[in-house]
Symmetry: C2
Subunit: 410 residues, 2 copies
């Protein structure tokens, strides 16, 4: 599962392929089945659906829609309304772990228009667990109370085969956090199973062009990029909007490689601006203690994690500024850098703003950078062997080196 | 303190006046004193400043600014930069209770541009307590990591006389929540003292034109208005953007009066659209059980409360749509409805978008509505007597009727 868990993003791939095995660029989707989500303001009843875990009940709603919550069950015609007729078509966004802390920030950002823009109406499809279903209803109530004009539909449920139906974006946040004493290998196995199951559901019912962003632990590369930008700005004494071309290469672990060779400050190479090579090679490279600090002080970093998810999506739905790039974990197949194929590895990317990305091909790599990239690559290949049983590549063999979990990732 | 605590807003008034006594429309500000906030990425040291509670240390920063956090200490010239030279001047926004759950949502909304607009750079001045100071540092770190271009300055501290300096907006969120067994009268006293102290600090050091929004318990009228809109939409089977002209009259308690006489759905009077008078007079009027439900299910409603604060500010910095209004708790002095003077009472308002408001004068009031308004007015007058010792109006005499705390307000 190394290739899946290490990546926040795998666009234009089959989600099932993502969860099952890598390298196959095309997907075949089964026909969507009928949804079985209720429409009511009362607490949901649970029923057994086709032997799968209890799904939200299929009370036939008074309104025409089958999947909805409360006021989001109303019918409307965006094209007939003067205020909304110039809007784009509704986009279906599925979010797992929807009752959790990161979602509690992210969903409101999605609904406000901050992510997809002020003319993009949105349908939120929220996946929770049996345990979190009432909290999920609370989330839907709070979304109602927020009166966001762009938020047109909200559905909630605990069956991914229902909730993911027709999803055009799938933001997979729900995963087991790393509790005390849980090894990285155990986490890869547990969360690998979660994502494998959700990948199958996406394959079965999501939109053919669904974009999948895996956020659940240990995936978080975009936040690392933001933190690296902030570190460089702080060291150079400039505002962070002057820092560009920052790449995080590799895994989301202590082997991740923040690239100071190609990063720029005010358009100039970082090494020309920050002369402190020792700081760049040592402190900057391993400076991820922020997470520890934030959490030690009794806070999660849910808010900034949600912001980094927003950034990851915005990087794909807005054209990348000329000359700049962003980094995100993507499939290595066909990469120009000689990184092993068939893993998911954070690399520099550009987007035309169409939701897709292309790799930046001409990024310089020196010996120092290459050595570190190879180390992160070796780790990802080892992690991939840990979850071979989930990817259909035989028996798992898990022999990870020392603990490379990033501090603060609990 | 009834007039203060009942109101989320008192623009163009002296904050000290707000906290001390009502009715005086003008304010005289003392000269701002020098700030004593540090600039460093290390954990702050605390020192005693002029006998007041420990303030954040006055380490002389390497950067030119005196009050700042981390990367927000950098100097920049917005007017010299092609990307930012068309922006407005920086707006100073102070937030109390900045390490709390509501702020954890609100601060990121302020920083993103969602509240004041995409060309309004912002300085956040965050007030915490001694106990929450490290968490506050975590908040500042998360704001750094979010790389919001509009967020130009962040300062943190625990001394309102320092943190509120030059504040143009003051969002007073920090207050004692209502724990088990705490009476409304006790809460009025405790939080009244907090707001009185902060009012004095605002009077001393804030901008002459500071706008003050009091959110701390029991103030929350804008969320009530949002919930009322949602209830009407749900009952009528329309989307909530079709509901307008909703007023909450009075206090933020079970005596609050959601006005269905003047509210409109698709431009038509609610009573023409919703024929169920019993529902309007009974369920709609007392339908505030949502808060209970949300909290019973293990969630706070911090996110939607933050959204309602955003709505309250946006109502004042954007022109009110023609024919519509919003409601918020404001001084009753000179009101056209015969409501007692010198209390803070939620009423229908309009704004030109200049940050100020005017009362809507021609709203119809029938016997049913008037009777309820008088009941809420009586409660506010009684609550005012509870905090007479804080407003300089003699000895407090507190004789409140039964518990009118809204459910969910804990």
């Amino acid at each position: 599962m190394a290739m899946d868990l290490s990546s926040p993003y795998s666009p234009a791939r089959s989600p099932a392929t993502l969860a099952a095995r890598c390298g196959s660029p095309h997907l075949v989707l089964r026909r969507p089945r009928l949804a079985t989500v209720r429409c009511s303001v009362d607490a949901p009843k649970q029923v057994q659906v086709q032997g799968r875990p209890a799904a939200v009940a299929a009370e036939q709603a008074p309104a025409a829609r089958k999947e909805c919550y409360g006021v989001f069950c109303t019918t409307y015609d965006l094209k007939a309304d003067e205020k909304t007729k110039s809007w784009k078509s509704l986009v279906n966004v599925a979010v797992s772990g929807a009752a959790g802390m990161i979602s509690n920030h992210l969903l409101f950002k999605l609904a406000s228009g901050e992510v997809f823009g002020p003319d993009q109406p949105i349908a939120l499809k929220l996946l929770g667990s049996e345990r979190s279903l009432q909290a999920l209803e609370g989330v839907a109530m709070e979304l109602e109370d927020s009166l966001y004009p762009l938020l047109r539909e909200v559905s909630i449920g605990i069956d991914p085969y229902v909730v993911f139906e027709d999803a055009e974006w799938a933001l997979l946040i729900g995963a087991k956090p790393r509790g005390p004493g849980i090894e990285r290998s155990a986490l890869l196995d547990i969360n690998g199973q979660i994502f494998a199951e959700q990948g199958k559901a996406l394959d079965a019912v999501a939109s053919r062009n669904v974009k999948v962003i895996v956020i659940g632990n240990p995936c978080n590369t975009k936040l690392d990029e933001n933190r690296a930008k902030c570190q460089l700005a702080l060291k150079a004494g400039v505002f962070y909007d002057k820092v560009s071309n920052v790449t995080i290469w590799g895994n989301h672990s202590t082997t991740q490689v923040p690239d100071f060779l190609n990063s720029k400050i005010n358009g100039r190479p970082v090494k020309e601006v920050i002369k402190d090579t020792k700081w760049l090679e040592e402190e900057f490279t391993k400076n991820s203690s922020k997470g520890v600090l934030i959490e030690k002080w009794g806070r999660s970093s849910a808010a900034s994690t949600a912001v980094s998810i927003v950034d990851a999506i915005r990087s794909l739905v807005n054209p990348t500024p000329e000359g700049d790039w962003f980094s995100t974990g993507v499939y290595t197949s066909g990469n120009p850098y000689g990184i092993a194929e068939d893993i998911v590895f954070s690399m520099p990317c550009r987007s035309k703003g169409d939701g897709d990305y292309e790799l930046v091909k001409d990024v310089a790599i020196d010996d120092f950078l290459w050595e570190r990239i190879k180390k992160s690559e070796a780790e990802l290949l080892a992690e991939k062997r840990c979850v071979a049983h989930l990817t259909g590549e035989g028996n798992a063999f898990c022999d990870l080196p020392g603990d490379t979990m990033l501090p603060g990732e609990v």
